[in-house]
């Protein structure tokens, strides 16, 4: 309507978010799918040959179909990213900003202290995502609420040193390299970008959540894990400078109006009107700070279908998904578990 721009001066513009529709049409697959392993803080998955490894806090865990998860190695600091090269080199990044390759420390360029994702390209190059210049990985929520865009993506060609490929990214959180470049999920901007040479080009925009790790699928497409949904209230708080900074200064971080890996665990967390439990029912479609969402992307990067754990579900905070032995394996960080889902394509 023609009067709207004038009226918006008085009433403010409505805040909208992309709908969960089309390929994002909700279901409850993640809550129904079988649990492969209960694992606290299950985060990054990687396949080392036939072995399936997962990070869980400070521990590196091997997941086996027929036996209990087994701790492979423990570290002094929480693991933030894992990657395995085709030659079975295992690279591990820690919260304290160190990176090791098969146990050998790797020297990092200055400023790389927040490693959120690692991946080996088909050419053997190691790609590295540095979430932010200002915060460690555990400070991700502060990085979002400060509206930073200080992340970078680095590449180390075989036998060479790290070279920056892209800068000023808003929390790069997932990497999927191919022969020519790398697909990067840029979490705070809700988009996937393609880093190729020195150009950064958006590939998939307006995601309905905060994208995390990416993984290749056998048919040339990809899997994308989304760890939290977009939420109108959070988007509004991001525009409310005074409230946001007061909140960051005075409210404990777990109780911020911000995305989370899991929510509803404490009565001190914020509650939105739609989330009120009425007649014993917590509405699945109510606004939430966390969710579980895994998206399947076709080779041309259009979403084809998705697996959900909605507001009333428990398997939230899906940070990582990989295809392993013909099925998708999903780590739900908020749900403290690792799930498997049959390929539905």
């Amino acid at each position: 309507m023609i009067f709207d721009p004038i009226l918006e001066l008085f009433r403010g513009r409505a805040i909208t978010i992309p709908p969960m529709d089309g390929a994002f049409r909700p279901n409850a697959v993640l809550d129904e799918t079988p649990v492969l392993a209960e694992l606290p803080q299950a985060d990054n998955l990687c396949a080392l040959g036939d072995r399936l490894l997962a990070s869980s806090g400070t521990a590196l865990i091997e997941i086996r179909a027929d036996a209990a998860p087994e701790t492979v190695q423990s570290f002094a600091s929480p693991i933030t990213a894992l990657a395995a090269a085709p030659d079975c080199t295992l690279t591990i990044a820690l919260e304290d900003g160190t990176l090791s390759e098969n146990g050998t420390p790797v020297s990092l360029p200055k400023g790389v202290t927040c490693i959120t994702a690692l991946a080996y390209g088909p050419d053997g190059a190691l790609w590295l995502a540095n979430g932010s210049d200002r915060h460690p990985v555990s400070g991700w929520v502060a990085d979002l609420m400060e509206k930073n865009a200080d992340g970078s993506v680095w590449r180390r060609a075989p036998g060479a040193g790290f070279k920056v490929m892209a800068k000023k990214l808003a929390w790069p959180f997932g990497l999927l390299p191919d022969a020519k470049g790398c697909l990067v999920s840029e979490s705070w901007r809700h988009q996937l970008v393609r880093v190729e040479g020195s150009t950064v080009k958006p590939v998939l925009r307006h995601l309905p959540g905060y994208p995390a790790r990416l993984a290749a699928s056998a048919d040339g497409g990809a899997w994308l894990a989304i760890f939290a949904p977009r939420n109108r209230l959070i988007e509004m708080v991001l525009q409310e400078t005074h409230y946001r900074f007061d909140m960051m200064a005075s409210v404990p971080r777990d109780y911020w109006i911000a995305p989370a890996f899991a929510s509803g665990e404490s009565f001190l967390e914020p509650l939105q009107c739609g989330g009120i439990r009425t007649m014993g029912v917590h509405k699945a479609w109510s606004p939430s700070r966390s969710c579980g969402l895994v998206v399947r992307l076709a080779p041309d990067m259009t979403p084809t279908f998705s697996l959900h754990s909605r507001a009333n579900g428990k398997r939230h905070g899906t940070c990582s998904v990989i295809e392993h032995q013909g099925r998708a394996v999903i780590a739900a960080r908020g749900g403290n578990c690792i799930l498997t889902a049959e390929d539905r394509t």
Binding site: G12, R232, V251, Q272, C273
Partner: protein, 707 residues
């Protein structure tokens, strides 16, 4: 407190933003735009035309305006009834001709001329009314046809008899007086327009036929279903319009003492423009005589003003057309969006800095520390009962609760598996109490204070109190009566939580946080209701102290418990006994050991407490986000808290699993057990209290051991 925060506090606590929303709820705000247009038009033409406000000039233009207003008033009534009358111009002309011919050709007295005019109008009106009302033809086409036929008839008559009229020598003083004279400085057309406007206004707003017209215009089908004679009502509106046009025609006949080919030409468009510009809806049912008159003045001043400024007929018509288009657009947009505007501006948050609360986190070591004791409660009526805000037991141990369907449900002792609807009231029954004679009294949200006798007869005890002087929306009516208790002398003390929101929107009041809660008393001896205290942030639970010398009531959004003294040196005053709790208190009831139970409907969260210090943020939130996304206090976790007369907290119970009793709004101790209700829950909890007196009931505590 920073300077910015102080400024916010002043801005949002001293400027009464809520007034805007309350004014917008008034129907008369529909008049605002036409009134503004009226002021602008009169002011601009008044300043552009020299001598516009001179007495003679006004006298002449008001005569014309009076006649025109008569026509517009008639047309307004037709439009309110959902129709349209294009024939007013030709009726006007024919009536003028009737009057003139009666006096100048037949040389009859003036009253007969008037009667002839009115008969002409009534006839044409009746033809329109019959065709549209009874034969149900389209109003637009039908009146267009009568307009054309009437106009043709008039033209024929004027051609054949015009010269005869001009040559006539007949004269009458009465006739001249009506045309030229004044009474108390007012001309006859102005006087008659005023009288007609007042009578029509009163008829439309305060009489049965007037209401019928509005009802038919609002919705024909609903009016029919309500038993209104739709066809007859429509018929009468056209007859009325015909009579109004006829009266105007008579007046112009006396003023001009003749009838020419131009009489009444284009009048229907002028009148239609006036009615619509005034703000009468073309769709019917919405509008008023005052609007019609405003529109008439706007149109008259504009057309006359443009002519006097030297613009021709073309310009005049153009301006009228644009005016009509703008008015129709605004009418439709406003009608469609008014409730949206109201929604967006109604919530007007205030600034509040909540005090630091002791922690309620399990293991924090404070008396408020929550636990999951209540998750061990067994359930009653799971899935059968919806929204038992309060629960109570009678002397036979039967259990009563209100539901969101407006019913009082009774569960039968001893196992409470069977239930029946004890009484249907409507509204949302909230607080419950038994009086000395076993009557069940309840505060019904959105309705008032009601009594249900043991034989199930429902009686309204109170629905209003005295209106406060500064109120814009009538605050005499009780919007959200919430909880009550009964003193030994039979007086009922009860709370009305908010003046700003209806009972079902009670949670929105927490966003606004304006202090409008009241404590009231109903005196059964004379049936009066008095306001004892006003200006609390959501007054909620009420209970008489064990010694009946004072009562406790809570202020939910401020997380406080107050004591109101009924006797002693502090009688009539309230003091705060418990402040800065970590939860939002709801109902309060007596416990068997001389202490009190208090329900917590929800818990404070740091993010919401902070938002209370950012009223501007909450205001934008209410405007920019759909309601489902608004930040609320955490009302998914509640509890039951025990406190004593001194305000000391003794014990806290909760259900941190959130599965059985996420929100607790009431609890009632009875024979060693606690019965737990929740306004958004689907069950009543039954919890065994360790070490409680298994013989104690609240009925005995209030009214003595059973007979």
């Amino acid at each position: 407190m920073t300077f910015r925060e102080q400024l916010q506090a002043w801005r949002y606590n001293l400027v009464p933003d809520h007034v805007i929303g309350e004014i917008l709820t008034k129907r008369w705000t529909d008049n605002a735009i036409p009134f503004l247009a009226l002021v602008i038009v009169v002011a601009s033409f008044g300043s552009a035309i020299p001598g516009f406000f001179k007495l003679y000039s006004l006298q002449e233009s008001t005569r014309q305006l009076g006649e025109f207003s008569l026509v517009v008033t008639g047309l307004t009534v037709v439009m309110l009834g959902g129709g349209i009358d294009l024939a007013v111009g030709s009726i006007f002309a024919l009536s003028a001709f009737s009057a003139v011919s009666m006096v100048f050709i037949f040389e009859q007295p003036v009253w007969l001329a008037f009667a002839a005019s009115m008969a002409t109008g009534a006839t044409f009106g009746a033809i329109n009314g019959y065709l549209i009302g009874f034969l149900r033809l389209r109003a637009f086409i039908t009146t267009l046809v009568t307009f054309i036929i009437g106009r043709a008839l008039y033209d024929i008559l004027v051609v054949n008899f015009g010269s005869k009229i001009q040559m006539s020598m007949a004269s009458s003083d009465t006739w001249d007086f009506i045309g030229d004279g004044t009474i108390l400085g007012l001309s006859v057309p102005v006087l008659s327009a005023l009288v007609l406007a007042i009578v029509t206004h009163i008829a439309l707003t305060r009489s049965r036929p007037g209401w019928h017209v509005l009802a038919v215009g609002g919705s024909r089908r609903s009016a029919h279903n309500a038993g209104i004679k739709v066809r007859q009502t429509v018929f009468m509106t056209y007859v009325f319009s015909g009579l109004c046009a006829a009266a105007a025609g008579f007046l112009i006949a006396t003023r001009l003492s003749g009838a020419g080919p131009g009489t009444g030409h284009g009048l229907e468009i002028l009148a239609l423009t006036a009615a619509v510009v005034g703000g009468n809806s073309l769709g019917g049912g919405r509008g008023s005589v005052v609007k019609g008159i405003m529109g008439a003045i706007i149109v008259m001043v504009m057309t006359n003003g443009l002519i006097r400024l030297g613009y021709g007929t073309g310009t005049n018509q153009m301006v009228l057309g644009i005016l009509l288009a703008v008015a129709v657009t605004i009418d439709i947009r406003w009608l469609k969006n008014r409730h949206k505007v109201l929604n967006e501006v109604y919530v007007a948050p205030v600034y509040l800095r909540m005090g630091e609360a002791p922690s309620a986190v399990p293991g924090s070591g404070t008396p408020y520390a929550l636990n999951s004791e209540l998750s061990g409660a067994t359930h009653i009526g799971l899935g059968e009962v919806e929204g038992p805000e309060d629960v109570i037991l009678d002397r036979d141990d039967h259990l009563y609760c209100g539901t969101r369907h407006g019913e009082i449900v009774r569960f039968f002792a001893p196992d409470y598996t069977r239930s029946e609807v004890f009484a249907h009231i409507g509204g949302f029954p909230l607080g419950l109490a038994f009086d000395r004679d076993g009557n069940l009294l309840t505060c019904v949200g959105a309705m008032g204070l009601y009594q249900i006798a043991p034989d199930r007869t429902v009686t309204q005890l109170s629905a209003e109190t005295r209106r406060s002087f500064t109120s814009i929306v009538d605050d005499a009516r009780l919007r959200d009566p919430n909880d009550l208790d009964i003193a030994p002398d039979g007086k009922v003390y009860f709370t009305d939580s908010t003046k700003r929101y209806d009972a079902h929107e009670w949670t929105l009041d927490s966003i606004e946080n304006r202090a409008t809660g009241r404590l009231l008393v109903f005196d059964p001896s004379d049936g009066s209701t008095k306001t004892l205290l006003d200006g609390y942030r959501y007054t909620n639970g009420v209970t008489m102290a064990h010694d009946n010398k004072s009562l406790f009531f809570c202020e939910s959004w401020a997380c406080r418990i107050h004591r109101y003294w009924l006797e002693g040196p502090k009688a009539g005053t309230a003091e705060c006994v418990i402040r800065d709790m970590p939860g939002y208190p709801d109902n309060i009831n007596r416990a068997s050991d001389g202490t009190y139970w208090m329900a917590w409907l929800g818990m404070r969260t740091p993010s919401f407490d902070l938002s209370l210090r950012h009223p501007a943020m909450r205001k934008r939130m209410a405007r920019r986000l759909p309601q489902d996304d608004w930040l609320f206090p955490n009302i998914n976790t509640g509890g039951v808290v025990k406190f004593n007369d001194k305000g000391e907290i003794l014990h806290t119970m909760g259900d941190l699993t959130g599965l059985a009793h996420p929100m607790v709004t009431s609890m009632r101790e009875h024979k060693g057990e606690l019965f737990i209700g929740g306004i958004l829950n689907n069950r009543i909890g039954r919890y065994k209290i360790d070490g409680a007196d298994t013989g104690w009931t609240s009925n005995d505590s209030y009214w003595g051991a059973s007979k």
